[in-house]
Symmetry: C2
């Protein structure tokens, strides 16, 4: 069947459902590549890590930034590709590990950034879903996320596969994630509760997501999924930033999704949740005792993002279907985005 | 007069209007402090720069990141304060310049991050509007932005003063900004055209801002001003990121403010503007031939952000007044935000 013959949302639904298998396969078949990348990075002994990505992959890069800072104990930054590509900056990148994350490996500005970074002395690592892509070829190190072809425009399985690959390369050995595929499958099993929330949001005109720490990339990715599939203004704020201004726009008509699985990030969100309650906000929790179920038992906090995005992908899908849009074919978007 | 006695918006209006004087004073009275900070940073010879801030100051930090990458030729990153404060990361920060930007200098998480960074070997610089604040005292280097007391909750004059101070410390000597105060005064003089745009946005239910390169922090700050003062969901996207998903939610009902003053950033936004036109978006330009006037003649591109935010501050103010909110006293917000 061609894409045009699929019922609305069929591709995205299938790719969401594939994730336990994708994660299991990546843990198994990717182990050698992870170990090789880890070894090479260890020998290179970077002093700083730069991360470059766009869209969904940028949220995986943000996740990687937390891993680098907490697990490798190195300062890290998200690259502004434009400083390399528009303004011709040629920084000294000796001692720098440069990580580019891209589903397709075909974004010209990422390729330009990585090529420049390599010329400036960085060790370059590409994380893509296509081992033959220009980005994979241009980088000294490549990790294939092995998610299989992703046909829905809204990325789902490649996102969780990117998170897992980045975890294994940057924090592998710190934690055994063998329990992850099963946790993902259990989390996806709570779809009825997700559908109820989607139903409550049927007529929402905007949406806010919030989290702290490792869960903040999840908040960002959830907001993007909702924007892509439901054409709804959705904004993510770190809990701390929310209190620095954006709180003013939140009232009972702006639903808030708070991602707070057990751990330091969830605990740090508590004062924000208290403040949201004070102002009468409509808050739905993801994770934790009262939230949409996320199976995090036996997983370290740093692996929570890989499962906590799952009900939020399902939520975007259900909201899109309830609103009559086709999450497989968002208006105005192409699967591979070419930006310079 | 106490704050409660002021007519709605009087404080913010006055502080917006003060900016040419604030910039002139800072250029004159801050010169010695800028030179001292530059000298110390040069001797320290950092290999990497980390920037930490929240809210409006975070947009000044983002601007500084572009300066560091293009002018100092160093890789840079925006700190996730939570990795230092929540997760207890203790990275090796020898060779790292750590810059904290805060109007009040009183945010506990920034203070915690800066103190930790200093203990980890970084050279620390605080940019604040209060030389006796805890953050100013805790840092080895301090630059006072000399904006005078800021009483409106929505920051305006401290933002442009932060931008100027960061420019002078990080790129001082590259360009003479003597023309800046006059350019700011001329830009503020186009308020009637701004008020017309505010009137057109009277019933908008959301708003998107977009830009590339140096103007991207302006897009972020403009969105925050609108959220704080008008209680309107406003989102900023780099032009490149906009094409990676969020474009789907834009239709003729979602006004787009495109910041594109002459230069590489404005030129790079052109394909995004073309795409927005194709999908029938309602785009208002800021800067450039057809846009809200921004006086950038004689200023290098890297100084444009200091003037191009001015009509956007005015726009937020006019939109707030048209909608019946008081931009001086946004609901739910305090001037100093304490987050951990």
């Amino acid at each position: 069947m061609s894409v045009a013959d699929q019922p609305a949302g069929a591709l995205m639904a299938r790719e969401i459902a594939e994730q336990p298998d994708v994660l299991e396969r990546l843990l198994r078949d990717g182990a050698d590549a992870f170990a090789a990348a880890r070894g090479r990075i260890e020998r290179f002994a970077p002093r700083f890590v730069l991360l470059a990505a766009r869209g969904t992959s940028d949220h995986a890069a943000l996740y990687a930034k937390y891993l680098v800072e907490t697990r490798l104990g190195l300062p890290a930054g998200l690259v502004s590709p434009s400083t390399l590509t528009l303004y011709g900056a040629r920084p000294d990148l000796a001692d720098v590990l440069f990580v580019a994350v891209s589903q397709s490996g075909r974004s010209p500005d990422l390729l330009g950034s990585l090529t420049t970074a390599r010329a400036c002395g960085a060790l370059t690592l590409a994380v893509t879903n296509d081992a033959s892509s220009p980005l994979a070829t241009a980088a000294e190190l490549h990790v294939d996320v092995r998610a299989g072809a992703e046909r829905a425009v809204a990325a789902t399985k490649t996102y969780t596969a990117q998170l897992l690959a980045l975890h294994e390369v940057l924090a592998g050995g710190h934690a055994d994630l063998a329990a992850l595929p099963e946790a993902a499958a259990r989390t996806l099993g709570s779809v009825e509760q997700v559908a109820e929330v989607a139903d409550r949001y049927r007529f929402a005109t905007s949406l806010v997501t919030t989290a702290r720490g490792y869960s903040y990339p999840t908040a960002r990715e959830a907001a993007l999924k909702v924007m892509e599939t439901c054409y709804l203004g959705a904004q993510a704020f770190s809990g701390a930033d929310l209190l620095h201004g954006p709180l003013a726009m939140i009232d009972a008509q702006v639903p808030v999704l708070a991602i707070a699985t057990p751990g330091a990030g969830g605990a740090a969100l508590q004062p924000v949740l208290d403040r949201l309650r004070e102002i009468g906000a409509d808050v739905v929790h993801v994770g934790g005792a009262d939230g949409l179920p996320v199976a995090t038992d036996g997983l370290p906090e740093e692996a929570h993002p890989i499962v906590e995005i799952l009900p939020l992908q399902q939520l975007a899908w259900h909201m899109a279907r309830a609103r009559g849009t086709d999450p497989d074919r968002p208006r105005g978007l192409a699967k591979v985005t070419e930006t310079w």
